[in-house]
């Protein structure tokens, strides 16, 4: 490879070649399973192996015509959007506050705010199960939305906080000195600048909720089953190609989220590059 680091000796060339070979194998390991199940969802047969007997959309048809799968997709969307909205409000406010707050307690508060990410899912789920059951929040949409918001908000605090760190507070002061009210300064100066950060935070929050299954496993009634929850039962009972269709739909959502995030990052870098 032409762009490899300076390779002076044969042994260095061998080491570099080994790195490339091993890395390629790891990349295959990472990507192949995800790519391998996609074509299976278009199979006309019901066995999950290659070669495919023929192509068809029967499993997608199955998915769309199954009230169970469609209801789970709807649930994932409703819970995802609601918990994203709630975590955006709470997380953005907190990130704004944390950016200005100076205290010795700040690392402690930050650790507390971020802890839902680190604590094992089962522990949060068991705790919520005990806590929400007596007040009627298990088997309800509200309970799931609240729980997912708790898990998603740390990502909003991190992404929005990172954006605020690169934000020049003098701009807000300038707005204030030019007579803008705090609300107006936020709406017309701060908000447009941190919008990409907010969007990334929202994507992270949505992805967190959309992918979450442990809490749903403990707390959802039959009415609130989400797409990952339905996949969990499906995998346990028997893997039909309909699950691979569901997997393709889930992966498509992930790819769209990832692509949007990448576009935001590029835009942000371009803006930064243009400014500096």
């Amino acid at each position: 490879m032409s762009d490899a680091p300076s390779l002076r000796t044969p042994s260095q060339r061998i080491a570099w070649a080994t790195t490339i070979v091993v890395s390629t194998l790891v990349f295959i390991f990472l990507i192949a399973p995800i790519l391998a199940i996609m074509p299976l969802s278009f199979s006309s047969g019901s066995y999950l192996t290659y070669p495919l007997p023929g192509l068809s959309l029967r499993w997608y048809n199955d998915f769309i015509n199954s009230p169970r799968w469609m209801n789970s997709l709807k649930n994932s969307m409703v819970i995802g959007v609601a918990s994203t909205t709630l975590s955006m409000v709470l997380g953005t406010l907190a990130a704004l506050g944390l950016a200005q707050w100076k205290s010795r307690l700040k690392p402690l508060v930050l650790a507390f705010v971020l802890s839902p990410v680190v604590v094992p899912g089962v522990i949060t789920a068991v705790g919520l199960y005990f806590f929400f059951a007596p007040i009627g929040l298990t088997g309800s949409y509200l309970g799931l939305i609240l729980a997912h918001t708790a898990l998603a908000t740390p990502f909003v605090v991190i992404t929005v906080g990172a954006t605020l760190q690169s934000f020049d507070t003098n701009l807000a002061r300038a707005a204030a000195s030019l007579g803008a009210s705090p609300l107006e300064a936020f709406r017309r100066v701060i908000l447009p600048l941190i919008l990409p950060g907010l969007a990334s935070g929202a994507l992270f929050a949505f992805a967190t909720s959309f992918d979450e299954v442990v809490i749903v496993l403990f707390m959802a009634g039959p009415e609130q089953r989400t797409l990952p929850r339905e996949m969990f039962s499906g995998i346990r009972e028997n893997i039909s190609p309909t699950i691979t269709a569901a997997a393709v739909i889930l992966t498509t959502v992930s790819v769209v989220l990832l692509a949007t995030l990448e576009a935001l990052r590029r835009r942000n870098e371009r803006l930064k590059g243009g400014g500096g």
């Binding site: 680091p5 199940i37 506050g97 604590v119 806590f131 992918d211 403990f218 691979t244």
Partner: protein, 420 residues
């Protein structure tokens, strides 16, 4: 000293300004705190509160106390050496009749059965056969006649020890320990001592997965850090796409690939390498492969960022000073990646410890990690005390490791700042 040396006019204008600035700053700080407060209150309700509740359940012991209140009072002054006196027997007879009327016998029976196998039968049979309150002074004899277990000291120490209001019973049980009739902590009987092995298994699987992630992740991170940004950004998609793909999709993919009539086995068979399908899933191998796949990005990303921060000038300097490439790598490059290795390994290990979904779906019965048992005792057998105690121990391990991780990452930021 400064205030005294100032002229009067200066002091008058400066001090109020200073104070005004201070007041403005304090108002800003209060406003900042007010912005954080909603989230703090929210997390208190949806996260910290529930977890505190779970921790409380690990030591909470109210069932027996509520169902057999008089017995617990009567046993309070019992020395535990011989059988308790007639008063305790009469109190128990009273309690059992009241509990039978209230339908609460099963609650106490379940709790006592955890401590002494067979207690459920003792209590229910006694409740069934104790038709009338025994004549004063004959309770001891009457109960002993209904079930000889009441002539046994251990039966009574079990009730006393389960009398609450708090207990170390579940936490000890989670460590395969138990309190004997004399109150000493001893090893639990072999058929109940399963949790140390499960904890050891959880640590072992997490350690293995961490090692696999490091071995596979290091070359990839090195490659990504060495390539020019354009290329490495492109290759980064291979790391980020699995990272963003649903855990369920990835687990499902591995089952489809590895099951006995799955893609891998069929391909190997078709190629003539194997005759009978290999057992690749629903065992330890499948768990390690699937977990490594899920956690690998968490290793690659911190490794990559620590390698990206290493200036190529160091390696050039080492080479120009005559170090052979391998020596330069081992003594110059590798030590600088150690913080990244530490951070990545700790992160993967912490995340692996709490894994539930992947082992539950691709593991066999002997590959289930601690989270599986916490879930099992919560939803299936409703042994909430034990579930909470196991959860408390898992949480403790996680929090300790997370503190080390925090120190490590913080240290990196400090040195990173000094380098700039």
């Amino acid at each position: 000293m400064t205030a005294a040396s100032l002229t009067g006019a200066d002091a008058e204008t400066k001090v109020p300004l200073k104070r005004r600035l201070k007041q403005a700053e304090r108002a800003r700080q209060i406003k900042a705190l007010a912005l954080v407060l909603p989230l703090l209150l929210f997390l208190l309700f949806t996260f910290a509160g529930p977890i505190a509740g779970m921790l409380w359940r690990a030591v909470d012991d109210q069932e027996v106390r509520q169902v057999l209140p008089q017995t617990i009072v009567a046993l309070a002054n019992w020395d535990g050496k011989d059988l308790p006196d007639e008063k305790a027997y009469a109190a128990l007879a009273n309690d059992i009749q009241a509990a039978r009327a209230a339908g609460t016998i099963a609650i106490a029976a379940k709790r006592l059965n955890y401590a002494l196998n067979g207690f459920r039968t003792i209590l229910t049979s006694t409740a069934r056969n104790l038709k009338i309150q025994p004549e004063p002074g004959t309770a001891k004899e009457a109960l002993g006649k209904i079930n000889p277990a009441w002539r046994n000291r251990t039966t009574w120490t079990t009730i006393r020890d389960a009398g609450g209001p708090v207990t170390s019973f579940y936490l000890l049980a989670a460590l395969d320990l138990v309190r004997n009739a004399d109150g000493a902590i001893v090893a639990a009987s072999p058929d109940q001592a399963i949790y140390r092995e499960i904890f050891a298994r959880t640590f072992l699987i997490s350690l293995g997965v961490t090692a696999l992630c490091l071995i596979l992740g290091f070359p990839v991170a090195y490659l990504l850090a060495a390539l020019p940004p354009g290329r490495s950004n492109l290759l980064m998609i291979f790391v980020l796409l699995p990272f963003w793909t649903s855990l369920l999709v990835r687990t499902c993919a591995w089952i489809v690939l590895l099951q006995s009539n799955g893609v891998v086995n069929e391909s190997l068979h078709w190629l003539g390498i194997i005759d009978a399908p290999l057992r690749l899933i629903y065992n330890r191998f499948g768990v390690c492969v699937a977990m490594t796949h899920v956690l690998l990005p968490f290793m690659i990303l911190p490794l990559y960022s620590s390698m990206k921060a290493i200036s190529p000038a160091y390696m050039r300097a080492a080479a120009s000073l005559g170090a052979p490439p391998l020596t330069a790598f081992l003594r110059i490059y590798l030590p600088q990646t150690l913080p990244g290795i530490g951070a990545g390994s700790l992160l993967v290990f912490i995340l692996a410890l709490g894994y539930y979904i992947t082992p539950a779906l691709v593991g066999g019965a002997a590959d289930q990690m601690i989270s599986y048992f916490i879930a099992l005792y919560t939803t299936e057998t409703a042994n909430w005390g034990l579930a909470s105690a196991l959860g408390a121990l898992l949480l403790l391990a996680t929090v300790l490791l997370a503190l080390v991780y925090g120190k490590l990452v913080q240290g990196q930021q400090v040195t990173g700042g000094m380098k700039n």
